[in-house]
C-alpha cells in the first residue's frame, strides 16, 4: 500500500455539530494520527468554499485520501466524492464519518461523550480510508437486440414498442400463430370493444416493421451470458424433420409467455365433459364468434347460468383470484341478452370484482338488463344436476345463496364455467432457462412486487403480462410497455455502466465449492467448469456481500467493503 496522505475535514454544520461536538478538539486529536497530513474544521464543508478547500489541499498537499466528518453519507457522500474527483483523486478514496445524524443530534445531553464518539467515528473513518482502493466503474457493451418470448398481446406490444424505436427484436412464439389467448376472444370488457381489431392493428404493424423477426413454432432452449450480452439458443420445429437450432445474440430478454386456462374437468361435480351443456368461458367465446349461442340439441337456451371462480379462490385448486373472470362474466350476460332477448341469465358469484375503470358502471348495466346475481360462499361450491322431466329446464344448480340465506336451485339449460388462469405447465422450465424464479403458483417473481414489477432478480431479464400473475388487457399492455421501456433506457445509454463496487473471486484461493453460486440472489456468480473455479459477473453483481461473508476459503473480496476495511473500522471505533 503506497504511503497515505490523508486529509481530515471536520464539519461544524453551523452549530448543528459544533454546539454539541467539540469539532476543534476532534480536529486537534486526529491531526496527531499517523498518515494524517492535514486536519481542518470548517463551518460548512458542503458549501462551495468547503469543497474548494478539499480540492485545493489535494492539489497542493498531494493528499491521496480524504475523510469528511459531517452529516450522513446518504446526504453528502456524492458531494465529497465529486470534490475528490475534481481534486484529481479517485472518488472512492473518500470516506465520511456520520457525526451529525448519528452523533450530535442524538446525544444532546452529553457533549463530552458525543465528542468522544465523534472522535471514534472519525478515527474509524481514517483507519478505513487507509485501505481504500481506487475503483473505476466498468462498462460493457449493450447489444440493442431484444428477445421476446411469447406472441400474445404482451409480447406483441413489447416487440412493437422496441421495434418502433428502431431496435431489432426476435419474437419467439411456441405455437403456429400469433395473438395468444386474446385471439380467442370476441369482445373486450367493460366497453365491449373489438378484441380482433385490437390484435389486427398490432399484427399489421408487426408485419410492416422490418426490425421484428417472428419465429413461430419455436422455443428457447438455452440462455447464457449476462445483461447486454446474452446468447440465446432457439429451436424451431417445422413439420416432422428435426428442429433447427439457431443462436441469437441479444442484450435483453422479455418473458411474456402468458397463461393457460384452468381445466374445468378437474372439478368433477360441475359435470364438465359429462353434462352436454356445461361449457367453459372459452367455448362460449367460440359460440359468440360463430353467432350460435345454442345447446348441443341445437335450440337456443332459455336459462343460462354463469358460475364464477372455477378453479380460482379455492382451497383445493388455486388460492388466488384470476382477476378478469368477473368482468368477462358480466360481458357474457350482456351478450346473451343481446343475442337472445328472452333468455334468463343467472350469475353465480362470490365477490364481484368490478374494480377497474368503467367496471362498476358495467356491473350496474348488467343489473339493468335483469341479470340475476346470486352469491355463494367462498369455500362452498354449487352442485349441478340434471333436471327432472317436469322441469322447464335441463339442469338445476343447487347452492346456498348468501344474500337471501336460502338454499336454492337455479334453473339452467346452459352453464358457463368461468375458468380461471393458471401458470403454463412449462413455466418452471422457462424460469430455469432464463434463471428467474417462480412462486408456488408458478407465476414469475418480480424483482420487487411494488416498485419493480417488470424486472427480475436477473439483470436484463424482464417479465410482462399474465405470466407474472392474472391481469386484464390494459394492465398487460402497460406492463409490456414498461418492460420495453426499461430496455429502451438501457439501449439509449449504449453501454452498461457497472459501479466500481462489486465482488470478485481470487481464483488462487477459490476451492470451487460452489457454495456462493447458490447463495447469490442475482446468479451473478458462475462456475467455470474448466478451471473448476467460480467467478463473478460484475454486471450482474449488486454488491450485497452475502457471498463474501459466506465463502469458506475467504476467496471472495467485496470491493469497498473488504474485510480489511471493516476490521480497520472496528479497530477505529474501539480505539
Amino acid at each position: 500500500m503506497q504511503n497515505c496522505r490523508i486529509g481530515v475535514y471536520v464539519c461544524n454544520c453551523g452549530t448543528n455539530i459544533a454546539h454539541i461536538v467539540d469539532a476543534e478538539a476532534v480536529k486537534e486529536a486526529v491531526s496527531k494520527l499517523p498518515d494524517v497530513t492535514i486536519a481542518r474544521s470548517y463551518r460548512y464543508m458542503c458549501s462551495n468554499p468547503g469543497q474548494e478547500m478539499i480540492v485545493k489541499d489535494i492539489q497542493e498537499l498531494g493528499l491521496n485520501r480524504v475523510v469528511v466528518a459531517a452529516c450522513s453519507p446518504r446526504m453528502h457522500e456524492r458531494t465529497f466524492r465529486n470534490a475528490c474527483k475534481t481534486g484529481g483523486i479517485n472518488p472512492y478514496l473518500c470516506e465520511m464519518a456520520n457525526i451529525r445524524e448519528q452523533c450530535s443530534w442524538v446525544h444532546v445531553a452529553d457533549k463530552l461523550a458525543a465528542t468522544e464518539k465523534a472522535l471514534a467515528l472519525t478515527n474509524a473513518a481514517i483507519n478505513r480510508v487507509r485501505y481504500h482502493e481506487p475503483l473505476d466503474p466498468l462498462t460493457a457493451e449493450m447489444c440493442p437486440t431484444t428477445l421476446v418470448l411469447g406472441g400474445g398481446i404482451a409480447g406483441l406490444t413489447a416487440a412493437l414498442e422496441l421495434a418502433m424505436a428502431g431496435h431489432p427484436v426476435y419474437l419467439v412464439e411456441k405455437s403456429d400463430h400469433l395473438g395468444g389467448n386474446l385471439a380467442r376472444v370476441d369482445l373486450t370488457a367493460p366497453y365491449l370493444d373489438s378484441a380482433r381489431d385490437l390484435l389486427t392493428e398490432r399484427l399489421v404493424r408487426l408485419r410492416q416493421n422490418p426490425n421484428i423477426s417472428v419465429m413461430l413454432n419455436s422455443q428457447l432452449k438455452d440462455l447464457t451470458g449476462f445483461v447486454g450480452n446474452y446468447s440465446a439458443t432457439v429451436a424451431t420445429h417445422n413439420g416432422h424433420e428435426l428442429p433447427q437450432e439457431k443462436t441469437l445474440h441479444v442484450g435483453n430478454v422479455i418473458v411474456a409467455t402468458g397463461y393457460k386456462e384452468f381445466d374445468a374437468s378437474r372439478i368433477t361435480h360441475y359435470g364438465y365433459g359429462k353434462l352436454p351443456d356445461v361449457i367453459t368461458s372459452f367455448e362460449f367465446e367460440e359460440m359468440l364468434r360463430a353467432g350460435r349461442i345454442q345447446l348441443k340439441s341445437g335450440r337456443p337456451p332459455q336459462y343460462v347460468a354463469i358460475i364464477h371462480c372455477v378453479g380460482s379462490r379455492s382451497k383445493e385448486f388455486h388460492a388466488y383470484c384470476s382477476r378478469v373472470c368477473c368482468m368477462t362474466a358480466l360481458k357474457y350476460a350482456h351478450e346473451i341478452k343481446s343475442a337472445l332477448p328472452d333468455c334468463y341469465v343467472s350469475d353465480v358469484y362470490i365477490d364481484m370484482h368490478a374494480f377497474g375503470k368503467g367496471h362498476e358502471d358495467f356491473y350496474k348495466k348488467s343489473s339493468e338488463v335483469k341479470t340475476l346475481f346470486l352469491m355463494y360462499g367462498k369455500n362452498e361450491r354449487p352442485v349441478i344436476r340434471k333436471a327432472g322431466p317436469g322441469d322447464d329446464c335441463q339442469m338445476l344448480i343447487e347452492v346456498d345463496e348468501k344474500l337471501s340465506g336460502e338454499r336454492i336451485e337455479i334453473p339452467a339449460d346452459m352453464v358457463i364455467l368461468m375458468v380461471g388462469m393458471e401458470a403454463r405447465p412449462d413455466a418452471g422450465e422457462v424460469a430455469r432457462l432464463v434463471n428467474i424464479s417462480a412462486d408456488k403458483d408458478g407465476w414469475f417473481i418480480e424483482s420487487h412486487p411494488k416498485l419493480d414489477p417488470v424486472a427480475t432478480t436477473t439483470d436484463g431479464i424482464y417479465i410482462a403480462g399474465t405470466c407474472v400473475a392474472p391481469k386484464d388487457i390494459p394492465d398487460t399492455v402497460a406492463q409490456a410497455r414498461a418492460a420495453a421501456g426499461r430496455i429502451l433506457a438501457k439501449i439509449a445509454k449504449g453501454k452498461i455502466e457497472i459501479e466500481g463496487v462489486f465482488a470478485e473471486v481470487n481464483e488462487d484461493l477459490c476451492s470451487g465449492c460452489r457454495m456462493c453460486n447458490e447463495l447469490c440472489p442475482y446468479s451473478a456468480i458462475v462456475f467455470d467448469e474448466v478451471k473448476k473455479r467460480s467467478h463473478v459477473i460484475p454486471a450482474a453483481c449488486k454488491a450485497c456481500g452475502a457471498c463474501v461473508a459466506a465463502c469458506p476459503s475467504g476467496a471472495i473480496k467485496g470491493r469497498h467493503f473488504t474485510d480489511q476495511q471493516i476490521y480497520a473500522q472496528i479497530e477505529g471505533v474501539l480505539a
Binding site: Y363, E368, L372, E401, E406, P411
Partner: protein, 386 residues
C-alpha cells in the same frame, strides 16, 4: 329442501311497479336505516332479494310489505337508485291482487284503463238507475221528506246493499290474507294468542301509530303525512258509519242536526284536506313516494276527491234551499260513491283493513318467534324455519 328460483316472476311484478329492483346490489343500507325493521322482520332488502330471485311463495306469505309505510328513507339513501320503497309499494299492490279471489284487483293493476272503464260503467249504471228511480217515484224539486227525489229510506237500503257487497268481498280477501300469512296448516297458532292480541286490531286501525313512527328521526316534529293519512282514514270511516247507520238524520234538513252533522263536518274536513294534499303531492311529486303514481293511484285520489266535494256541495245546496241542484249533485255524488265502494276490496283502499290486520298478525308472529328463539337461541334460525 332447496327453493326453486323463478327469474320470470319479475315480469309479473313489473306490472305492479317494481321497476328498479334489479339495480340493488345488496349493500344492506336500506334495512339498516328503516325505522320499522326489527330483529324479527328485516326489510326492505330481504324482500327485494326474494323478488329478484322470484321466491313467489315466500313473498306471498310475507308480512314485511305491510309493515312498510314508505317513508322514503331507504330510497333516498340507496347508493344504486334501486328504489326499495317503491318496490315495497309494488309488493303491496301485488299482494292485494293475490289476496283478491275475484282476480279483478290483478286486472285493474295490470291495466288502469280497464279499471277506469269499470269505474265509469258502474258510475253510469248508478246514475241512470237513480235518475230513473227518482223521476219514477219522486220530484226533482224536492230533496227530502215526502216525494223526495231520492228518499233517504230507499237510498239507505241501497247503501247497505252496496256496502254489504263490499264488506263481503273484503271479508273473503281478508281471510285469504290470514291464510297466506299465518299459514294455519304449517304453523298452527293457538286461538288463545289471537284473542290475547285482538285489541291491537282496533288500536292500529284507529291510530295508524306505526306510520307515525316513520321518520321518527327528529323527535317532537309533527309528522304531516301521518296526520293527513289518519285524517282521511278516520274521516272516511266516520262517513261510512254515518251513511250506513244515520243516513236519515244526515240527509234531514234544512235545519242542522248537530249531534250527527258535527261528525259529518269533522270527517269532511279530514277528507277534504287529505285528498287535496294528496292530489297536490302527486302532481308536484313533492316526496320520493309520489314520484311514480300509477293509474290506480290517480283513480283513487280523484274519486275520493269527487266524493268529498260533491258530498259537501249537495249538503250545502240542500241547506241553502236549492233542492234541484242538490239532487243533481247528490246523484253525481252517489255515482262516484258506488264504484268507489265496490272498488275498495280490489284497490289500494284495502290498506285500511289489510294494514291493521298485518300489524296484528305481525305481533302474533313476533310472540311466537320470540318464544321459539328463547328455546333454540337464535332468532335467525327461527326466522328461517318460519
Amino acid at each position: 329442501m332447496a327453493i326453486r328460483v323463478n327469474p320470470k316472476l319479475i315480469n309479473e311484478l313489473e306490472h305492479f311497479g317494481s321497476e328498479d329492483v334489479f339495480n340493488c346490489y345488496h349493500c344492506g343500507n336500506c334495512s339498516a336505516v328503516c325505522p320499522h325493521t326489527d330483529e324479527f322482520f328485516v326489510f326492505p332488502r330481504k324482500s327485494m332479494r326474494s323478488l329478484q330471485m322470484g321466491l313467489e311463495r315466500k313473498l306471498e306469505r310475507s308480512i314485511e310489505p305491510w309493515l312498510c309505510y314508505y317513508c322514503g328513507q331507504c330510497s333516498e339513501q340507496c347508493p344504486r337508485n334501486a328504489q326499495p320503497g317503491e318496490t315495497m309499494m309494488s309488493l303491496r299492490r301485488w299482494l292485494i291482487s293475490r289476496y283478491d279471489f275475484t282476480g279483478l284487483a290483478r286486472l285493474f293493476y295490470k291495466s288502469w284503463k280497464s279499471e277506469l272503464a269499470a269505474v265509469i260503467i258502474v258510475a253510469l249504471l248508478t246514475g241512470v238507475g237513480l235518475l230513473a228511480y227518482g223521476f219514477w217515484q219522486g220530484n226533482i224539486q224536492i230533496y227530502d221528506g215526502a216525494g223526495a227525489f231520492l228518499p233517504s229510506s230507499s237510498i239507505h237500503i241501497f247503501d247497505l246493499a252496496v256496502g254489504g257487497l263490499m264488506f263481503l268481498f273484503l271479508a273473503v280477501n281478508s281471510v285469504r290474507m290470514w291464510w297466506f300469512i299465518m299459514d294455519p296448516k304449517e304453523q298452527g297458532i293457538r286461538l288463545g294468542l289471537y284473542l290475547k292480541k285482538i285489541l291491537l286490531l282496533p288500536w292500529h286501525f284507529f291510530t295508524q301509530k306505526r306510520y307515525a313512527e316513520c321518520e321518527s328521526g327528529e323527535p317532537g316534529t309533527v309528522h304531516i303525512p301521518w296526520l293527513l293519512h289518519l285524517g282521511i282514514a278516520l274521516g272516511y270511516v266516520t262517513m261510512l258509519i254515518l251513511v250506513m247507520v244515520f243516513l236519515h238524520s244526515l240527509q234531514a234538513g234544512p235545519q242542522i242536526v248537530w249531534p250527527v252533522h258535527v261528525f259529518g263536518y269533522l270527517a269532511s274536513i279530514g277528507l277534504a284536506t287529505g285528498t287535496i294534499w294528496m292530489l297536490h303531492a302527486r302532481l308536484k311529486k313533492t316526496r320520493v313516494q309520489y314520484l311514480r303514481s300509477q293509474g290506480s293511484d290517480w283513480i283513487f285520489v280523484t274519486l275520493l276527491f269527487i266524493i268529498t266535494v260533491t258530498g259537501i256541495l249537495q249538503h250545502i245546496l240542500h241547506r241553502v234551499g236549492l233542492p234541484f241542484a242538490a239532487n243533481i249533485v247528490y246523484v253525481l255524488h252517489l255515482m262516484a260513491v258506488v264504484p268507489w265502494l265496490l272498488r275498495m276490496p280490489f284497490s289500494k283502499w284495502a290498506h285500511i283493513i289489510y294494514r291493521p290486520l298485518a300489524m296484528y298478525f305481525a305481533d302474533i308472529q313476533r310472540a311466537v318467534l320470540a318464544a321459539r328463539a328463547a328455546a333454540t337461541g337464535s332468532i335467525q334460525q327461527v326466522r328461517h324455519a318460519a
